[in-house]
């Protein structure tokens, strides 16, 4: 059976890739994809710790993961909606050009 450490390493890698995308990309949609990657790395961790925990039959980790995925879906929907609405007004999805949050 695959050891716990392998799952954790994969999750850490996915998280690092997501963080790198979110920090470096200037396209809003790519940043959103990066954030999704980081969320899924966290889900992977949750599942892994559940499977190798003391009570694998209790399904708690599964529940956490499902909730997290639902929240991530809602977040992605809002984020994409914002990006599309902003694109309609300014014809751009470049985050560096989005400076209107400054009051």
């Amino acid at each position: 059976m695959t050891p716990l450490a392998a799952f954790l390493i994969v999750a850490a890698l996915v998280f690092a890739i997501g963080l790198a995308i979110a920090l470096t990309r200037r396209n809003a949609i790519l940043v959103l994809i990066g954030i999704e990657l980081m969320l899924n790395a966290a889900n992977l961790n949750l599942i892994a710790f559940w499977r190798f925990g003391t009570h694998p039959e209790a399904l708690t980790g599964m529940m956490f993961a499902i909730f997290s995925i639902a929240v991530a879906a809602a977040e992605a929907a809002v984020g994409l909606g914002l990006a599309i609405a902003y694109h309609r007004h300014k014809k751009t999805t470049d985050l560096d050009a989005m400076t209107r949050m400054k009051g």
Binding site: V31, T99, K102, G103
Partner: protein
Amino acid sequence: MLSSGLIALLKQPKRKTSASLAIGGIFCSLLLACTSLFRVLSLWGFGSPTREVYSFNWIDLGATHLQLGWMLDPLAAIMLVMVTFVGLLIFIYSTGYMAHDENFTRFFCFLSLFAGGMLGVLIANSLLLLFMCWEIVGLTSYLLIGFWYHKPSAAAAAKKAFLTTRVGDIFFLLGIVWLYAQTGTLLFYNNGAGAMEPAALATLLSQPAAWGLTAATAIGLLIFAGAAGKSGQLPLHVWLPDAMEGPTPVSALIHAATMVAAGVYLVARVYPLMSAGDSVGGSTVSLTVVAWVGALTAVFGALVAVAQNDIKRILAYSTVSQLGYMMVGLAVGGVAVGMFHLITHAFFKALLFLGAGSVIHGCHEEQDIRRMGGLRKPMRATFVTYAMGMLALSGFPLFFSGFWSKDAIIGAAHNWPVSKGPFVLLIVGALLTAFYMMRQVSYVFFGHWRGPSHTHVHESPMAMTLPLSILALFAIALGALGTPAWPWFTSFIESRPVTPESEPGMIALMVGSSLLVLFGLGIGWWLYGRRPIEKPAHAPEHHHVSEHGDEPIDEHNELKDILETVSPTVWRVLAHRLYWDELYAATVLKWYAALAWLADWLDRRVWGGIVAAVSSGFNGLGLANKSVDAQWIDGAFDKGCEELVTGGGVLAWLQTGRAPGYLRLLGIGVLALAILALAVGAATGQVRL
């Protein structure tokens, strides 16, 4: 039932602006008064005192409350009818008398307000309410005396009347407050809890005041002082003759018939208080004082009236004198005797005043009897009615009301156990009354016209003679209510069945007083009426009189009175009203002036200085305060604000508005947290690196 209607009337007068409204109002109240009289009459005869009381709370102060109320008893009912009836006649008369005055409306407004206040006095069941209405009456009296305010003498007289009655009112108020402090109520009757009922009286009697008097006596005397101010009793009488500056209907209504009688009425109201307590030789201290003051006033008024030349002033002093009679009657004979004289006096004195007004009106505002004469023929109606009033006032035997009422007082004074002094004084007063009235009538109506020859004397209009006739009728007829053979009035007031009185010596007394009156009339006729009084030969023909009712303007050209030629000194003293005014000017007014000066000096120098010192002290404090404020507190605030501005600048630099920047900062934060967690975990041994 009745009181609510009267309350409505009390408020109405202010809105009434025309004579018809005023007359209608007083007529309504006359009807109401009549219904109340009939109600009392129908209740009479059940043996118990007839009295209806309606009280209500006015002000609640915690556990205590001030109660006001209305009451209706025989005394109030008969006074109500008297006041409204005389008032109605005088209102009608005024429409004729004041027809030429431009302030007709104002006059009726005041008159109605007065009538309302007076009715309030009559039906009040609380000393406080009585006092309030009393003050309304005093105010309207002031307004009406000074009605012709452009005349300086009228304005001065109004002020004098107001201030003099105020002296009495202060004592009255003191009495009220004391009474409230002792008994906790100001209601007269309240089913056993009122101030005039036995329980409260017992409390009052047990409380000693100063100089061996009980509280009841002291309060009684204080209230009597108020009544004396209003009714023109001796020390406070000075305002009443001057009050004749007002229009004549006012003199008739307020200063002869009703308002001055309010003082007598007040004494009658608090009669239980006055008569309670240990008697000193048959009478209480308060009643003895009342009797003496009244008797002295009676003689004083009569004496001074002999030597006056103004037709209204004679009547005014006569009023003072008759009020003295009423007070004596109350003190020596009880409520009924005094009140009977009050009622009859109201009718015939109103009649006399209205007659005098008619004479003045007919002679074109002439008030000096020395410049009248022979008015018998041109003013026949006035003459007949005036003569009736005169005979009633003098107490002409058998037919006139004044005889019966005055005789009751004199008889009661005769039987008074304390002293015969008031009796003697009253006898002298009665003699003088007959004398001066005869003198006045002789001057005015007999002989030849002595005024300016071009003046056309005319009879007054119907509106003035009709009330005169009605009043004359009553001046005669009212006597029948109180004759000893059928003492209806006394029994009505005291709620007893009618029983004829028969006392030995009463017939003799009546005969004696009749002879006395006839004697007085005879002297008057012999001195003044026997031969016509001619005007002095050297008097200028067109002597226009500008000042009404002032002192004789030019002594040399004036007609000399017969008495004046006999003994000039006595005459002069009497003509100057025994120098009361001068006495007051020399004593009380001087004191007031000195006090006022002292107060002024204190105000300017002492209090002013203290105030200035205090204010400069506060100014200094204010300066110190200001510097502390500017230096310390403002400085601190300024510094704090600068810091805030700097901090805001730093934070504003952080907020770029660019999402990736925020995200980066977030990443740095997460990294920092992770490093912190690892470091802490390594330090505590939970994480093996």
